[in-house]
Symmetry: C2
Subunit: 514 residues, 2 copies
Amino acid sequence: MDVTPQHTDSPAREAEGPDGLEAAVRRTALAATAYRGWSRGRRAELLDALADAIDGARDTLVPLAHAETHLGAARLQGELTRTSYQLRVFAREIRDGGYLEATIDHAAQTPMGPTPDLRRMLVPLGAVAVYSASNFPFAFSVLGGDTASALAAGNAVVVKVHPGHPRTSRAVSRIAEQVFSAQDAPADLLTFVEGFEDGVALVRHPLIRAAGFTGSLGGGRALADAAAARPDPIPFYGELASLNPVLVTPRAAATRAEEFGTGLAGSILQGGGQFCTKPGLIMVPTGDAGDRLVASIGSVIASAAAKPALTSAMAASYSAGAADRAALAEVRARGRDSTADDQTRPLLLETSATALSPALLEECFGPLAVVVRYGSAEEAMTVVDMLDGSLTATMLTAEDRDDQLGDVLAALTEKVGRVLFNGYPTGVAVNHAQHHGGPWPATNTVHTSVGVTAIRRFLRPIAWQDAPQEVLPIELREESTDVPRRVDGSYVLAAQHVHVLGADGEDEREAGST
Amino acid sequence: MDVTPQHTDSPAREAEGPDGLEAAVRRTALAATAYRGWSRGRRAELLDALADAIDGARDTLVPLAHAETHLGAARLQGELTRTSYQLRVFAREIRDGGYLEATIDHAAQTPMGPTPDLRRMLVPLGAVAVYSASNFPFAFSVLGGDTASALAAGNAVVVKVHPGHPRTSRAVSRIAEQVFSAQDAPADLLTFVEGFEDGVALVRHPLIRAAGFTGSLGGGRALADAAAARPDPIPFYGELASLNPVLVTPRAAATRAEEFGTGLAGSILQGGGQFCTKPGLIMVPTGDAGDRLVASIGSVIASAAAKPALTSAMAASYSAGAADRAALAEVRARGRDSTADDQTRPLLLETSATALSPALLEECFGPLAVVVRYGSAEEAMTVVDMLDGSLTATMLTAEDRDDQLGDVLAALTEKVGRVLFNGYPTGVAVNHAQHHGGPWPATNTVHTSVGVTAIRRFLRPIAWQDAPQEVLPIELREESTDVPRRVDGSYVLAAQHVHVLGADGEDEREAGST
């Protein structure tokens, strides 16, 4: 977690008095109660209006975020596009209703005896906490994916703002305020706290029902521990640290060394190396082809200029981590020298599978990657066996398959949440099939923080037994047809959702997608 | 957690040497690796065979369990039926494949730019831990719902056996061994450990990837804390303590006092009061009708014989808890005196909403319930405001609706996982719509431990990006049609799954249920 001094123009400082945290949480919990009664359609309109509003403020927001984060206008334009897109994706999903897992089992005779009428769906939790990330001032911050999924699910949100971009956070929060007002939403649907101490107090607050976090392993672990140690533990969804291993097969090195080398260098350098999915470990075969691939990465890295980090503290942390790693025995370093403070110098380290030090297997946040040369499938497997969990693993195979490395691929798959082929892990699509998660320390959860199913984190099931129709949520009433449901084990869909395959696998009917 | 002395004929003691825990976990992790490759069909056959085998051993198992638990033959016959039924329900679900959440997003152009081909589904975790419960020697033990859902999902299981029924556990484990052998399954798909210390060591073991627990608040909390404190925290799904409040409306008391009174008493006494869903707090209106209802409960309770508890330790704990509660000021007690050791004496306590002590709001495991008399909707609400989370809340309304108590119902719903009307909370159907969970201390999770969706606890998502078809799990290949999938946002179903509603809500097509 960063130690950047607090600014005075953050949304939290402006909104709250000395009892800031307590007041923010109490007001948010009240807003959650009011918001819970909103229909899915009305919530979808709110999310769409938020998306339109931040798109409309693009000319203000992007320069502001660049001034605070140095991420560059192009990168920030893309991030803002992603942020409004995420809000619209969740709006679409809540209109669809599939996320509710609406289920009806009518009264029946079973081998266990007669069973009652039971109806289940997911409902919001109440007030939840979202911890903003340093590296995505829009997409993982005030109106980022965590907030979007929590609001879509029907919760109110207390955002712990990141000290790295307080004015951007303030500007986005003002936009949200205006949209809430225009949509007759509770003003306290989003509130703000700041600082390390209030961050920990937030996850401990009795009215907070869950928390989403993207950030450092140390900060996330402290919050996860606080959530678990509460008198009433709550779910803490942390996205923490990820090495994102890449395996280059001999055939890929032999046939596409320069292309893959240049591509990997671009992925390492993207956003100043400050992506959760930056490829941090690259397994490359020994021999000439591998040499060419490493040289290709190295030449891009060596010619890349140092860049400002998100914060001074992060620049210092990167420089220290890079120096420690580069000083290890049997490590060869490529990169430009630089004496500038607050800058991160791109660096490519190279070692062998047999000499690999565990110190090289921890994420170094910034433009640094470690190449590990392997001489056989067995050597590649020894490297994989040393790895902790990651968000992604990448296979650069050139062709579809390399049977010799099948076991290595299987072992890698066990350790990650996304496996990708002949591409680069940076750049995370926001859709139904995305999974941005993985075994510890990538995350501490079996849920995703990016993509449509991220909404599951901020919901819990309720079952209604023999309930009068008027007590049931509209989505569980007998006559409701606008959400996909599972009824007595069968999938019951309204026409707008349906796409049926015949027994021969051919399309038999298609009534349009949602 | 119980402190019953260890028996020497438990499956754990028989199977393991001095390094019991370490050996059991290592062998189970190896079995998980082998089992992971099994098709869904083969896993379903294994579960069905387990169900058949325990049904076939009914005449041996029921007397054995009765000798160890005193639960009675009828109750245990029913529980065994439930246990084999659960195994078959999970077999059916894994054949169906809906639980996989199989999702395909083809490569597309989006506002975020081009997106790759992404395919997501849920995969097993590996070796998981299951903690047997005292009160269900079959249904929440060796081959109970936790084990069934974990095996169905494709995991191997280390069971921490309960000291209250070691011989029953041993007999069930022998049956499983025989079925594993007949089905060519790894012999170590199920292994066993025992004792408090090994139970804690189990959840701390690096090879254990998740744990399911049904038991006491103290024992569950200790294990949850250990799971959260690991270097790599794992999901711990605990079902702990539940008061299961009941709200009797004035109209229900006026029209059906005797019927509801007798029904409530039966639910309190069922299984010796040793159900997780025993109604422990009953809100009854003041006045004559309420008096009659309370008298009706009381007369059944007062005439009910004391019964042996599951273990001596639990009998002692119940007696102490009952005595403490009965001694509170302004509490009236109904029940027979008894001096027998190891017996639990049914007890009905009565107090008023205004005098209600918080000490009466903690679960007392055994045949005890607390009646709280309320004089107004406001008084009922003050009681609800004092409640912690529960598995269930029951509304006895006689007619469909009581508008005066609508706010109380809404507040109760926020605190529980299942809301039921004009029925009794004991007896938990096993189907798709069931939810057996709820806010702390009922559970520490947003998932259920009973019903089909319990399988979600032992799965995690993986996304494959631009993967060659032959690398993908069969359920994610382009041509696969036998599992329900979400493709580019639409629901794509094979014909056997489909039930479509037309725009007017009428059935348009039905191709059979699964």
